[in-house]
């Protein structure tokens, strides 16, 4: 038989800039882990596995997660699975943990994502080492240079202005200002965003995510074995991942997210979602750059082609709207690497558990969509649908 997997606890640390962070990666990971255990109402001895991630090179080490795990203080006998899939490491942590639980080999697994970017002095230079060697790496592309390709293609396809991209940023900052865990908690105006320091056309610095230091942990457990736990589980109703070719040039069309659209159709079918725009109470998507959120909303069938910005401008994706999206402020305002890509899963699960930070909780949220993406040109996508699982024992 197979088992159902659910998130039964999540812990998110406050985020800071690297410059202000007084804690080490290990200390941040400890904080997130103990917060997740506390939220679930359990102790380390009930865990039977840990899935932890790192991105080799970005942290000045390889297999840093292996050493980190022993330092957490969870005991010496916990089996460790290390995920090392670059930018998608965070999103893949839960996918792997959930498969372990669904298979029946494990019953309670800790997923842990630490800060990945906060030590490197020149992140763009580190990210260039991650781009396809031989063919694309010699051209000099960091993360936002590669991100900018899609921004320009999308702008041209739909005639969007810099102000349209800025509107997405204004909305994200407004949301982040209410999330106690967010890094950039100030609000911005369209003018400030458009006139920010140019990084790679059309992206200005305010259109691009910060480097944050934070950690995120989640406990994925057998959904039908929650005796003694404190939380309302978030059932992982459906999930999946999908990949484009590795070379950036293998993407079919930079103006739309075809790979995400394909994955969404597959995951929606698993959860019997037929009218996505009407069926999610809350959405958390990995959108570190201004153009990504509208493009993703379109690929996820939550906005018509070219209609993402209009949906965001309409207020539908804000608190109180019909489709609250990235109420956390999203990775645009907090991006701590592996922790940053795990964060949409943690926030979405917390929403249906009724345990999101109070200022961003969607009242009565029952079904949530969570998304992660990574790869130099965002070739890799992951997606999950959570549903509140009312406890039969209360």
């Amino acid at each position: 038989m197979s088992y159902r997997a659910a998130v039964v606890g999540a812990g998110i640390t406050d985020a800071t800039s690297p410059r202000k962070q007084q804690l080490s990666a290990v200390e941040l990971c400890q904080q997130a882990t103990w917060a997740a255990l506390d939220h679930a109402g359990t102790t380390p001895d009930t865990l039977d596995g840990i899935v932890v991630g790192n991105i080799d090179g970005f942290e000045g080490t390889v297999l840093g997660a292996r050493n980190l795990t022993r330092a957490l203080g969870l005991g010496a006998d916990l089996p460790v699975t290390i995920i090392n899939t670059g930018g998608t490491t965070g999103g893949n942590l839960m996918q792997v943990a959930a498969r372990m639980v669904r298979s029946g080999s494990h019953a309670r697994v800790l997923c842990l994502g630490g800060p990945t970017f906060f030590g490197v002095r020149d992140l763009q230079s580190a990210i260039n080492t991650n781009s396809p060697m031989i063919i694309e790496q010699p051209l000099g592309m960091g993360a936002y240079h590669m991100g900018a390709f899609a921004a320009n293609a999308y702008r041209q396809r739909y005639g969007l202005t810099p102000e349209d991209l800025a509107a997405v940023v204004v909305a994200d900052h407004e949301k982040a200002s209410r999330n106690p865990h967010a890094h950039l908690r100030y609000t911005v105006t369209e003018d400030e965003v458009v006139n920010g320091r140019p990084l790679s056309s059309p992206l200005t610095q305010p259109m691009v995510c910060p480097v944050s230091a934070a950690a995120v942990a989640m406990i994925v457990a057998d959904a039908d074995d929650v005796d003694g736990l404190r939380s309302t589980p978030a059932l992982i109703r459906a999930m999946g991942m999908s990949s484009d070719p590795y070379l950036g040039g293998g993407k079919g069309d930079f103006a739309e997210m075809q790979n995400l659209a394909t994955l969404a159709r597959r995951v929606y079918a698993l959860a019997d979602v037929r009218d996505p725009a009407a069926e999610f109470d809350v959405v958390e998507i990995f959108a570190p750059y201004a153009h990504m959120q509208p493009m993703q909303l379109e690929a996820l069938q939550l906005a018509p082609p070219g209609g993402g910005v209009e949906l965001i401008r309409s207020g539908a994706t804000s608190a109180g709207g019909s489709l609250p999206t990235n109420l956390s402020g999203g990775p645009k305002c907090t991006n701590a690497g592996v922790a940053g890509e795990l964060a949409p899963y943690a926030y979405a699960a917390l929403q249906v558990m009724g345990a999101a930070p109070e200022p961003i909780q969607v009242p009565g949220a029952r079904r949530a969509l969570a998304h992660g993406t990574g790869g130099t040109f965002f070739q890799f996508e992951n997606l999950a649908i959570f549903e509140a699982l009312p406890r039969s024992d209360r």
Binding site: K20, Q21, N128, L139, G140, G248, G249
Partner: protein
């Protein structure tokens, strides 16, 4: 404000990456001013750079073709801000659909007036024709193509 205690770590590593049969042939072609692509026997898509297998059909590619050094610029960005060890900004990187290719080839694009940032997209709108310019000294690497320049007929 308290200072954040940090200590420096430095990596300085060199690697020799084995190109393999498929990319060796591509690189040999570049040295001879030829852009070689290969074709999936199942879906007929044409890959440049070439690949040993089709990632969609999982078929081994079998047929080689030479593509013209011209194509359409589908997308580009101007890097206003670079990074240590990278090219000196500003520079433009684009995705070029060579005539007959199913994939984009990423490369530098010249011919933009960087003093007019607001008109960048209008200067080279999607679909603009571009042509490869060969480096005078070629050693079998992607920068044997120096860059692409606008091909104004």
């Amino acid at each position: 404000m308290t200072t954040t205690p940090t200590q420096a770590v430095h990596w300085d590593l060199h690697y020799d990456i084995h190109l393999g049969a498929t990319w060796s042939r591509f690189m040999d072609g570049l040295r001879d001013q030829k852009i070689l692509a290969n074709v999936c026997p199942a879906c007929d898509r044409v890959f440049v750079p070439p690949q040993a297998y089709c990632e969609s059909c999982f078929e081994r590619t079998d047929r080689w073709v030479e593509l013209p050094p011209e194509g359409s610029l589908e997308v580009f960005t101007v890097a206003w801000h670079g990074f240590r060890g990278g090219p000196t900004p500003p520079y433009a990187i684009g995705g070029v659909r060579l005539d007959g290719a199913s994939t984009l080839l990423m490369h530098w694009v010249i011919g933009l007036d960087f003093t007019e940032p607001a008109t960048l997209l209008a200067q080279l709108p999607a679909g603009s024709r571009v042509r490869a310019v060969w480096a005078p000294q070629r050693s079998g690497q992607i920068l044997d193509i120096a860059h692409f320049e606008p091909a104004r007929d």
